[in-house]
């Protein structure tokens, strides 16, 4: 079964603010019965102050959908509408100590219910631009619709390009066949990757069949080169990574910007680790700088 955090389980088994809300003056119904997750969010807003005095939910959905709904009501109670609208799906996931990548849509649904309920209170019409596809890349939680849109918008042709633009397939690589399927669906065919120009600088010894053991200096260079190659993907998501320390098999990095503290931090570190293991040809562990022993 799912690897739910304690917090998710706790909110599922003891949901806060469930059931109908008397005198609600803003209601948002979102979700998809087809997909098995739908939510009604009910708000009681003070018309003078625009403060959310109470919030309740009713949810048809899985454990994390119920937990996300419960978390959402707790987060927004006491906030003004404008403050509440700043709450992102990441905030909901963080409040629950994270959600499995397959379940991130539950937090997205929470955020959309909030937008819908606020629109309803304000007498506006909310329409969603929501579309969600099958999860393709589990390392970075990227779905098929996102990949399709990116392929179309940028005229992508190869799996490598998809990885560079979306991060999908940049981790364990198990989803490469699925990414190729999406490419075929969009482009009608699969283009073969460009033959890679030999980029190895002339002064480095050519690859011998038996890999020589790297010197410490070479090893760190290699780590830096690998991080350099990943950087553009992170920057596209307004994040970045810096190498802090290499301690034997432990490689400490600092994530910054949008990557820092985000729910996807673990997944991002996992993705970086895969790349480094590949590049170095040895098992290493990538850890956040916070995990460094203070001595």
């Amino acid at each position: 079964m799912w690897d739910y955090s304690e917090k998710v389980r706790e909110h599922f088994f003891n949901p806060r603010n469930s059931g109908p809300l008397e005198n609600a003056n803003g209601t948002g119904d979102v979700g998809s019965i087809k997909c098995g997750d739908a939510l009604r969010l009910m708000l009681k807003v003070n018309p003078e102050t625009e403060i959310i005095e109470d919030a309740h939910f009713q949810t048809f959905g899985c454990g994390s959908a119920i937990a996300s709904s419960s978390a959402l009501t707790e987060i927004i109670k006491g906030k003004t509408l404008d403050e509440a609208l700043q709450v992102s799906n990441q905030d909901i996931a963080d409040y629950l100590d994270g959600l499995p990548p397959e379940k991130m849509h539950c937090s997205v649904m929470g955020r959309e219910a909030l937008q819908a309920a606020v629109a309803n209170y304000r007498g506006e019409v909310w329409s969603d631009d929501h579309e969600e596809g099958d999860l393709v890349c589990k390392c970075f939680a990227i779905d098929a619709v996102m990949i399709e849109d990116t392929i179309r918008a940028n005229g992508l042709k190869t799996r490598e390009e998809v990885t560079n633009y979306t991060k999908a397939g940049g981790g364990c690589s198990a989803c490469h066949e699925k990414i190729e399927d999406v490419l075929i669906a969009v482009n009608g065919r699969l283009y073969s990757s460009e033959p890679k120009p030999n980029k190895a600088p002339a002064n480095l010894p050519s690859e011998s069949p038996v890999k020589p053991k790297l010197t410490n200096y070479q090893r760190i260079r290699k780590i830096e080169d690998t991080l350099e190659a990943i950087r553009p993907m992170l920057q596209r998501d307004h994040g970045d990574v810096t190498l802090i320390e290499v301690d034997g098999k432990k490689i400490y990095v600092a994530l910054s910007g949008a990557c820092q503290g985000c729910q996807m931090e673990a997944a991002t570190l996992g993705g970086i680790q895969h790349k480094l293991v590949e590049a170095l040809g040895e098992l290493v562990q990538v850890l956040p700088v916070g995990a460094m022993a203070h001595n």
Binding site: M1, R9, F13, P20, F60, D134
Partner: protein
């Protein structure tokens, strides 16, 4: 309290007698059956004995018709791929919409490669229409490489008339395969009196270990191996035999034979008691599938207006293991393809729970589950936008219409 396991269609516990019979094959009897020396010879003898036991359970005419594989999925793949390779001029496959992914995913892939796949639809009860089948056979005739129809559906337990369907295929000279992974050990089977050419079974569904399967291959059926290499399994499935598991499967088959009657009386009564008990206490619930023609151990119950994963989490907390008919637990969001094929509404398909029993379940366990389920459903319905007080809100489908439904 001792946990209650009612997910035997997912996998079963190894019978202790199976484990005991296997253990020597990890230690003193580790030899390779192909070796000349005595280490190998003993193992060879044990494999022969196991093969005979599988033959008996299946009612096969010859023990050489039993080919050991690594799992049900491998047997399914071997059967279909063999049929299309051995008859390259035939490029059509007939199957059903409710097969296990071991068949469906493979067929989808073959479709991409240019094969034509016809999937028989099912009605509300999960039954196929034999007239539709007959007209497909007539229409495609000698273009059909193979018909593959499951003997019993894993989600609902619904049985398919595979003996009759095999007969109909045979009349047209078409090969017939059945995925009997859920049927073997639960129903009496006598292959020699049928026209079934190939059959898949999987050890871990009948109290043998995981990672062992069988492809039954009727003598004189045209065949192309999936794995080529050594001469094991008479060259039809290369790779050194998984001797411990084969021996375990042999014992499991013998036990299944001995318990066949109990499975269809004692276990069936427990299943019926469970179903009646739950339906008697929970409103807006119903049984999925063909209740007149199904496996004796399976109960698929739809609880309207709640979602299955929540039910499973709450049951799990009370030490009760079952599984859900919604694929939410597998990461995909759509309800199971079986529920959709039967036209079960989304609000019920997502709330479907499968209880699958075995000879290890007791009446006391059944009664504990009957007591545990109603409060769980009531608690989740309290959270549901479709529910109010004691029943569904009036016009549930109109009362709650979320955006992007």
């Amino acid at each position: 309290m001792k946990p209650i396991y009612m997910d035997n269609n997912a996998t079963t516990a190894c019978d202790p007698a199976v484990v005991e019979a296997m253990l020597p094959f990890f230690t003193e009897q580790f030899g390779n059956a192909s070796s000349i020396h005595s280490f190998g010879a003993q193992v060879g003898k044990a494999l022969k004995e196991a093969r005979g036991r599988v033959q008996t359970l299946l009612g096969a005419a010859h023990d050489s018709e039993i080919v050991f594989t690594s799992c049900g999925t491998e047997s399914d793949s071997t059967a279909i791929l063999s049929a299309i390779k051995a008859q390259p001029e035939r490029r059509t496959i007939i199957t059903t919409v409710v097969e296990h992914p071991a068949i469906l995913t493979l067929c989808d892939q073959l479709e991409k490669e240019g094969y034509v796949v016809h999937k028989l639809k099912v009605n509300k009860k999960g039954r196929v229409d034999l007239d539709e089948y007959k007209s497909l056979l007539g229409q495609f005739g000698d273009r059909v490489a193979i018909v593959s129809v499951m003997w019993a559906n894993n989600e609902t337990g619904t049985l398919f008339p595979v003996e009759e369907m095999a007969e109909m295929a045979h009349e047209k000279g078409i090969m017939f395969h059945t995925d009997a992974v859920q049927a073997v050990g639960k129903l009496p089977i006598d292959l020699k009196s049928t026209r079934i050419d190939m059959l898949s079974l999987s050890g871990h569904k009948l109290h043998a270990p995981k990672g062992i399967g069988v492809l039954y291959l009727r003598r004189n059926t045209r065949f192309r191996p999936l794995l080529r290499g050594g001469h094991q399994e008479r060259g039809r499935r290369a790779g050194t035999e998984n001797s411990a598991s084969i021996v375990g499967l042999g014992v499991a088959c013998e036990l299944a034979m001995a318990h066949m009657e109990a499975e269809n009386t004692v276990v069936k009564r427990l299943r019926d008691r469970l179903e009646r008990g739950i339906l008697g206490k929970v409103p807006n619930a119903f049984v999925n599938g063909d209740t007149l023609y199904r496996l004796p151990n399976t109960a698929s119950i739809a609880f309207e207006y709640v979602e299955g994963e929540g039910i499973l989490l709450m049951l799990n907390k009370q030490g009760i293991a079952a599984s859900s008919g919604s694929a939410c637990t597998s990461g995909s969001l759509e309800p199971s393809h079986v529920m959709r094929a039967m036209g079960i509404p989304y609000t019920a398909a997502h709330g479907t729970i499968r209880f699958s029993l075995s000879r290890y379940n007791t009446e006391e366990e059944v009664d504990r589950v009957i007591a545990a389920v109603p409060p769980v459903i009531a608690q989740l319905r309290k959270l549901s936008p479709y529910w109010s007080g004691e029943g569904p809100v009036p016009n549930p489908e109109q009362a709650f219409q979320p955006e992007y439904a």
